[in-house]
Symmetry: C2
Subunit: 125 residues, 2 copies
């Protein structure tokens, strides 16, 4: 386990990710690489370009993520970090939020991190 | 990406894990190692012994997991697998299930897999 504070990285990453997602999701491409994977509901995508294309094409104009829980663990001796987020999504003019769960596997790259794995699911009750 | 079918491994692992959990959770120790980590709600544990002690001490006699969604991705070139489960928990004589999210990071070990990371959260609405 390295001296990096994985909880702090996970917090900072998640805050940055959802700020970008909610303000201009065309900018999320820098957080993925060619080998990155996204499972978004039943869709599976690989590579930064296809992933961002998918995220940009989602059928809403306005979106707001509200994080309820955020937990992180070191995922390897190399500095990988696993993050599980649960939260609520508020879409367009809707007033009833939808609950979601999202799991990120972050890999270190120099002084920053990128998303290697990303699995997103809405929680229907 | 190896020739292993990560979706099949994730399915088989998850079925086995919840069957053991729901029938006799003292037997879950074989699925963890000394370096394994569990975040269960706000509790953090490391090592098979402490993890099983925590799981066994949970304050219910009967429990039933019902998986709603199960998604998997290869998490490294070494055969690691990331799994995100969302589902419902039915505890003791309660009739209202509680929703949960659980993320597993599975590492290969010979012909089987063990849990390196495990993050569990109830989803309150």
């Amino acid at each position: 386990m390295s001296s990096i504070d994985f909880n702090q990285v996970a917090q900072q990453f998640t805050t940055f990710y959802y700020e970008k997602f909610d303000s201009d999701r065309t900018q999320l491409g820098n957080l993925y690489r060619d080998q990155s994977m996204l499972t978004f509901e039943s869709s599976q995508l690989q590579g930064a370009r296809d992933i961002v294309e998918k995220l940009v094409s989602l059928p809403f104009q306005k979106v707001q993520h509200r994080v309820s829980t955020l937990d992180a663990q070191p995922a390897s001796p190399n500095g990988d970090i696993l993050v599980l987020v649960t939260g609520e999504l508020l879409i367009d003019e809707e007033t009833n939020p939808q609950r979601y769960s999202q799991c990120f596997h972050l890999l270190p790259d120099g002084n920053s991190y990128y998303v290697f794995n990303d699995i997103f699911r809405l929680n229907y009750s």
